[in-house]
């Protein structure tokens, strides 16, 4: 069965060679001169750079899409300087006669100020270390003190961020219940002020080491 359909006027061999060669050559010229620089960022002839075609083939970073405007829920701006501190807080063994096994360490913050922190203590049993993370506005003339509880728990480490809800001092009551003296290592960064040793919030006279 012959069902092939070709032209009944086939070009002569010489003409066919010319047609095929010409088509192949023209396609090559277009691909090398135009397609390579414009589509694939390759420019073997320099024609793409000279004509600007190469710019078409330069990969562009994807454009971002704005899905929402920033709000105070996720962005805050502060006039105060950013700071970072490392603090070592020694605690005596649990049941210490002079009650050196517990203390409070806090920093001063205005409402909306934020502080990122991480602390840990090398107590083997997490049940034997207690902390109470809270903030308070000291009592003033005619007004009682205000306290906001953040977290009361046992455990040997905590990482987080605090955005102060009230003015005053914010930080931790720490209590060692293990049989050995320990040192709590606390790191803080953000927008807060240290409480000078001896003043309200740092009666234990802990000295922080600013990190530059």
């Amino acid at each position: 069965m012959t069902i092939e359909g070709q032209t009944d006027r086939p070009p002569s061999p010489k003409r066919l060679a010319l047609i095929t060669g010409g088509a192949l050559a023209l396609a090559t010229v277009l691909v090398v001169g135009f397609v390579l620089p414009a589509e694939f960022h390759a420019d073997p002839t320099g024609f793409g750079r000279a004509t600007g075609l190469l710019k078409l083939g330069t990969p562009q970073p994807p454009k971002a899409e704005v899905v929402a405007a920033g709000t105070t829920a996720n962005t805050r701006y502060y006039p105060t300087a950013y700071r970072s501190d490392e603090v070592e807080i020694p605690l005596a063994a649990g049941g210490d006669e002079n009650r050196k096994d517990e203390l409070e360490y806090k920093v001063r913050m205005k409402p909306g100020d934020s502080m990122v922190y991480a602390w840990s203590v090398p107590v083997p049993n997490p049940e034997e270390f207690y902390y109470d993370f809270h903030g308070e506005t000291p009592a003033a003339a005619g007004a009682p003190a205000k306290v906001v509880e953040y977290k009361q728990s046992t455990g040997t480490s905590s990482n987080g961020v605090l955005i102060a809800p009230i003015p005053g001092v914010h930080g931790w009551y720490l209590q060692n219940q293990s049989v050995k003296p320990v040192v709590v290592k606390l790191k803080m960064s953000g927008f807060y002020e240290l409480v000078p040793p001896g003043q309200y919030g740092n009666e234990a006279r802990i000295k922080a080491k600013p990190v530059s």
């Binding site: 359909g5 691909v31 390579l36 589509e39 694939f40």
Partner: protein, 237 residues
Amino acid sequence: MTTPTRFGIAGAGLALMVAALAGPAFAHGIAGKDAAFVAASHGAQILPFIYLGAKHMVTGYDHLLFILGVVFFLYDLRHVALYVTMFSIGHSLTLLTGVLSNIQVNPYLVDAVIGLSVAYKAFDNLGGFRTVLGVQPDTRVAVLGFGLVHGFGLATKLQELRLSKDGLVANMVSFNVGVELGQLLVLSLILAAMVWWRRQPGFARQAVAANVLILFAGFLLMEYQLAGFFTQARLPA
């Protein structure tokens, strides 16, 4: 009629036919929201996948040119049906087995072979094989072979979209049915245009010029994809 005029008429006719059918898409990826749809699909989505298959066929320049080349000198509808069946068997086989057995072929290479198929058929239409080799290769075998390659290309592209296992076979079959429907749609439009064209005076001469242009377009498509194949490593994924 002068040679430039002949090329002009043939070229305008080809361009009209391709432009009317092809829309803005180039070659045959599955892109944008269609890709998002495929990736998000779970379970059988019969009609959407039929639509995607048909769209893929109707908007691919390379397929349009290949179909045009195949039917260019076929005057008997039974012959048209035979070739289309060979092509369909070829790409159905590899599309289904490719996806089901996770075979992936470099899409640039597959598209380069599809471009080559366009040039092959145009060269064949010009009587090139008989002129050069003295024998006429069996076009049915060639069409079946190119159909197989096409199916692999499709299978690779569908797998890149991470098809859900859920409803995979139903969706694959739907897609393939869509490819056939799209092919029939394109084919009927091309045949209608060809029937009209053949009745015009000077068709025989314009036909040679048209196949020279198809030959050129096939080489262009092939080299375009080869350029992609040899440079793709330089582009960020």
